[in-house]
């Protein structure tokens, strides 16, 4: 997070020439590199702050309540129905081959490895990354962040680290809950739609899972939590252009964190499959 808008040391010419396309592209690329650099620095600092005092425990608990408890209803609802719809979609295919009992296997693997962490990450990004960006952005434009600095408080410790830590703690828990209610939803759907016994569904769903599947899901949820919280903080604390800028930052935080989550998911899946083969 920069302390101040980018400063210049040389006086600028008062007459501005119309920039060429090359200049515009070069400046856009430079801005992108600067953003990546500042984001990486802020993210590293948010974790490094956790190792030293002062720590803001109450702020972290408040954020855990907001991010974790606050996101619970949407995670529960979406998790249940995603599990159910997966059974409806896959069950029909398995029925054609007389292998309806495999429904539990496929739903369980998909939820634990992929859908649980990704859907939870995207939902929490939509709800909390935007919330973080708008809250911090509003604080920035109303000079509350400067007021904090003026009173000797480091905003990265007070505002960023508690949000990152709270996300890292709560998103994996939300993912676990999402997977569990997803399996419940799948079980209900399989009982009523496929006439599969609950015991069979549950035994197959649990039996297919290996430690590496659980680790894959857990690792993804950790990384997604880190992405959604740091992107929200970065966008919020780099607002330009007053209240309009806050709105822009809010939208950008959701878009950027969602895209980053999906890209990270691809690479993590490839890495997890590679490691599963090796180990």
């Amino acid at each position: 997070m920069p302390d101040a808008p980018s400063q210049v040391t040389q006086p600028h010419s008062s007459v501005r020439e119309t920039p060429s396309v090359i200049q515009i592209l070069t400046e856009a690329f430079q801005q992108f590199v600067l953003d990546v650099q500042n984001y990486a620095r802020m993210s590293a600092l948010s974790l490094a702050n956790l190792l030293t005092k002062p720590r803001y425990t109450q702020d972290t608990l408040d954020q855990m309540d907001d991010i974790g408890v606050g996101s619970l209803p949407i995670v529960l609802l979406s998790g249940f129905f995603i599990g159910a719809v997966m059974v409806l979609q896959t069950g029909q295919q398995f029925q054609r081959f007389g292998q309806v009992s495999l429904t539990g296997d496929i739903v369980s693997l998909a939820l634990v490895r992929e859908l649980g962490p990704t859907i939870t990450g995207l939902l929490v990004a939509g709800r909390c990354s935007s919330g973080i960006a708008s809250e911090l952005g509003s604080m920035l434009v109303t000079e509350q962040v400067d007021a904090m600095r003026a009173m000797g408080t480091d905003p990265s410790r007070k505002l960023i680290s508690p949000r990152v830590l709270a996300s890292i703690i709560t998103v994996p828990l939300l993912t676990t809950i999402s997977v569990f209610v997803g399996l419940l939803g799948g079980m209900v759907a399989s009982v009523f739609s496929l006439r599969l016994s609950p015991t069979t569904f549950w035994q197959r769903a649990i039996g297919i899972l290996e430690f590496s599947d659980l680790m894959q899901g857990f690792t993804k949820s950790l990384l997604f939590a880190f992405i959604l919280s740091t992107v929200g903080c970065y966008k919020g604390l780099n607002v330009r252009g007053g209240t309009q800028g806050v709105g822009r930052a809010t939208t950008q935080s959701v878009v950027v964190s969602s895209v980053m989550i999906i890209i990270a998911d691809t690479f993590l899946t490839k890495l997890a499959l590679f490691l599963a083969d090796k180990l």
Binding site: D3, P5, Q7, T9, H12, T142, Q144, A150, M151, T153
Partner: protein
């Protein structure tokens, strides 16, 4: 209210400046804003920083508090070289400086009492230690009854007064005011100026006040607060040696255009300065 006594000994004329700007430059993407600003403030002195909108008054205050780093030049405050410190070192330094932001910059999710107590709580003070101090400074700004209110429930003038109370809680030797009366009605502006007078004459703070209202500067120069009678009186205090010094600085095009006493400002024949006097 147990207010500390005013400083018994006035600062000697050659005292080390509490605040010094030495050829300070700063600019942003649109170009330089401050171009070689140089001035200094002695302990307990009040500097009125006048200028049109966009001349860099707020920037000068933020530089003095170490919230911005100059592109060139040197800033010294309370013996610290503010322009060459890391952010971590500056956090420590800023605890000795009070900053009253233009719109108050109160934390909108905290109550008035929590806002005022913020800095003490950050230092690890307990509720029992904090409560009487919060009560005292809120009484000083005559807002004791607003302790449990949120900033959104306060008027603009009340928010500025809470902001002054928040800056005052640790008794900083330097207080920076960013247009404290901007956008306020004349009566509320007068209340704020009276508070600044009291803060100066009771606590003996060094002040740098950015404003575009000349009358605020003259009010600080021509009135004083008598702690004994607790009233604002016209003219110098009984003991002239204790009379705080008020000086005007006028910023124009990023440079100090005028620096002088209220009398010199009043007598000026400069057409630009006379525009402030109308």
């Amino acid at each position: 209210m147990s207010l500390p006594p005013p400083s018994a000994i006035p600062p000697p004329p050659n005292a080390e400046p509490a605040l010094r700007f030495d050829d300070v430059w700063i600019g942003f993407e649109e170009g330089p804003i401050l171009r070689g600003v140089t001035f200094s403030a002695r302990p307990e002195e009040t500097l009125i920083l006048l200028g049109e909108t966009g001349t860099g008054k707020t920037l000068a205050l933020k530089l003095a508090a170490g919230l911005l780093i100059p592109d060139r030049g040197r800033i010294q405050a309370l013996g610290h070289d503010v322009s060459h410190k890391s952010e971590h070192e500056l956090l420590e330094f800023r605890r000795q400086v009070g900053f009253v932001f233009q719109e108050g910059a109160l934390f909108d999710s905290l109550t008035v009492a929590e806002n005022v107590a913020y800095r003490l709580k950050e230092d690890g003070a307990t509720d029992d230690e904090v409560a009487p101090k919060v009560q005292e400074v809120l009484r000083f700004v005559e807002l004791e009854h607003t302790m449990e209110m949120l900033p959104s429930e306060l008027s603009g003038g009340m928010r500025r007064r809470v902001s002054i109370a928040r800056a005052l809680i640790t008794r900083p030797p330097i207080v920076l005011y960013d247009s404290p009366t901007a956008g306020l009605d004349p009566i509320t502006s007068q209340t704020i100026i009276t508070l600044i007078l009291r803060l100066r004459d009771v606590y003996g703070v060094t002040a740098l006040m950015a404003t575009h209202r000349l009358q605020d500067g003259f009010a600080l120069a021509n009135f004083h607060f008598d702690p004994k009678t607790r009233t604002v009186r016209k003219g110098a205090s009984g003991d002239n040696s204790k009379q705080p010094i008020t000086r005007f600085l006028v910023l124009r095009d990023g440079r100090i255009y005028f620096e002088g006493s209220p009398e010199e400002m009043l007598r000026t024949t400069d057409p630009y300065l006379q525009r402030f006097l109308i």
